[in-house]
Amino acid sequence: MTEPTNARFPARDLCGTMLVHRRLLNESMTYRARRAAIETRALRYEQGRRAPVRTEVLTIPVVVHVVHDRAVPADDIADEQIHSQIEALNRDFRAANPDVAKVPDVWKALVADARVEFRLATRGPDGEPATGIVRVATDRHDFTVDDGVKSGATGGSDPWPSDEYLNLWVCRLRGGLLGYAQFPGGPPQTDGVVILNTAFGTTGTAAHPFDGGRTATHEIGHWLDLYHVWGDDDGACTSDDKVADTPNQADANYGLPAFPRVTCGNGPNGDMFVNYMDYTDDAGMFMFTRGQAARMNACLEGVRASFLVSPAAKEAPAKEAPAKEERLTRAMPETWRPSHDGDVERLLQDSERLTTEVLNDIRAAIGMVGGHPDG
């Protein structure tokens, strides 16, 4: 996506930009190639050129790492608070949250059930019984955004295998930051999301106005490859979130805006500030769109396809009522439904194709770097 610009610090000149681009390309070429392949796939799903294979609700096993200052017992949040977060996620990702009724009429038809649920893992990485909660007392009072919380060597907690579990770290974060995520395609040892302990769940230490569990909803949105609805272009209208049914909007919205809020000529309905991927208060965000659900499906059937076949996921079957779409599917004759084995086979073929795409992108990138003189 387009890198954000900055009003105070102006954009670089073209030559400088190319130098930066080249440096980044050389530093993390594999990551960039992987991201390009993920983006290509997302576009296919988003434009409807490719339909999701998945028909069932996917349950993602979660491990919550509660990393707390041993001198501050209150930071060792209670199980109840953790459960309240999981419940909030299961409402939000199934469009079962009561406040979805507040979505302005003009966007009601776009509200999507992502058909994703979350469960605390009942088995550990070696198959042992587990609660899905890891508690680590540390000498560190707080953490920065350097991923220190994700490793025992730096006072945090080591991740469980990130192709089988969603790792969710809860800790005290410096600077008033609510949380941060990692897009799919990044290093597996830091894959997951980090949430401030007072912005986690809906009970216990969760504090207004971030006590609706929506920080985790937002961060897991990134983990499933969603961008911010304003396109991270720092107030410009040049970049969007690569999802067609979210209006292009200038910048993030904060607090609880009033409808409509028109920017970038997006009237009459204006910014979709009720979207989980904006920056409003927890009480102000309550929907994903169909386009965003398509992007999440592209991610789950592509770079995160391991969750569709992982043994850990099968240990945690969904209990909630099926979504409308699934109820329709269940009403179909058996022969109309795609078989699970067929799904797996197609996904494995897709993984193979994705690998080829990544290799092709790497080859193309190598050609680009090596083939052009400096300038």
Partner: protein, 102 residues
């Protein structure tokens, strides 16, 4: 306006709640900031002349952009190696509060 001195060296985060009509207020990164979904821009002035700006990132992790800084009569000049130059007018830097003209 005061001459910037060594007091500016350090890591500062935007305490936007304290901004006035013509000034932005920054506090040391370890200040107990109120939780905020709005990103807090960061300015780090290192003693060796390195400057690191923390800009909003696409996955909510602030994105560092590195340059060089030096004091000038009217404030601070920041130069980025890839091109681009910014002059900051320091209004005051005392008691753990850095104020910069908007």
């Amino acid at each position: 306006m005061t001459e910037p001195d060594i007091g500016i060296v350090g890591e500062w985060l935007h305490s936007y709640e304290e901004d006035t009509g013509d000034a932005e207020v920054y506090r040391p990164a370890r200040h107990p900031f109120r939780p905020s979904r709005r990103p807090r821009r960061g300015l780090e002035f290192r003693a060796d002349g390195t400057f690191v700006e923390l800009r909003p990132g696409p996955a909510d992790r602030p994105r560092p952009v590195t340059g060089r800084w030096h004091a000038r009569e009217s404030g601070v000049r920041v130069v980025f190696p890839e091109g681009g130059r910014v002059d900051l007018t320091v209004l005051s830097c005392q008691d753990g509060v850095l104020t910069i003209a908007k």
